[in-house]
Symmetry: C2
Subunit: 182 residues, 2 copies
Amino acid sequence: MKKFEEKTLHTKSIFQGNMISLQVDDVQLPNGKTSKRELVKHPGAVAVLPITKEGKIVMVEQYRKPLERSLVEIPAGKLEPGEEPKQTAMRELEEETGYTTDDLQFVTSFATSPGFADEVIHLYVATNIELAENKLDGDEDEFVELIELTLNEAEQYEQDERIWDAKTAYAVLYARAKGLLE
Amino acid sequence: MKKFEEKTLHTKSIFQGNMISLQVDDVQLPNGKTSKRELVKHPGAVAVLPITKEGKIVMVEQYRKPLERSLVEIPAGKLEPGEEPKQTAMRELEEETGYTTDDLQFVTSFATSPGFADEVIHLYVATNIELAENKLDGDEDEFVELIELTLNEAEQYEQDERIWDAKTAYAVLYARAKGLLE
């Protein structure tokens, strides 16, 4: 897994933010030449595909400032220090949707933008979900609206680009391929 | 598509790089409060799922500095100014793999990390691919190795996390769901 390794010669920290940080590394390439790499550091995240007992997918609509538009996505959130991904998934599901479950199954993990960022998303499927009696409060600057969609509706949302992000596109295709909502 | 819009009050440019730039926006939230958003700007990218006449997927292994490891991915590359995504897809396919085709079909687009970046990837499927007689040269600091995988092998690579990025995971699942390699 180190094929064509680019050895770090020097790291320059550019920015330390609340969600991400940025650094520029001078690297030595396999041919001995040097180059620069712009690297965004992110704590990683989880995403949950929640399926109701009626066979619908629970999604959230929220504004995504980088894209200057709102998107309909499966619930997700970033890892907190010391938190196991599965624990984050349970917490984010409840904070964003009010649903809880004991049935959370790991699906897969993937890097979202390996060319410039280290963000990895861990995807889970949540079944047998139930509305919590006392909903956890989410971040106070997070505004989300719940939407429950059949699989056909979710695919239509993709056609219309209301669903337009990688993790949700993967989750919807996964639900179709595995027959999860049939 | 502007639900819960976060109005920009002020933009502070932090970094302008070769691949990405970074800014921090002060925003007004729907409840009137203010917050900060850390935003990575990226030109966007294309990815191509190339299928050989023998029914294999052509992939490239390359080192991904943000993750400090190499990954096996479908060919991809960022949009150049003024270039149509389909044109970029044709060019990147040839530069990275040596294959060309006239049969490039659009599959879907998705944002990779909508929480902090504006990167959108446009995914295509390439069929009837042939090795070009005079291969285009790629970026001089890009080191890639070609790998041709059956669909079963690609799924095993995912299990082993040698394939570990969102666009490739989506493409492999898409190939399976649509029966593209049968």
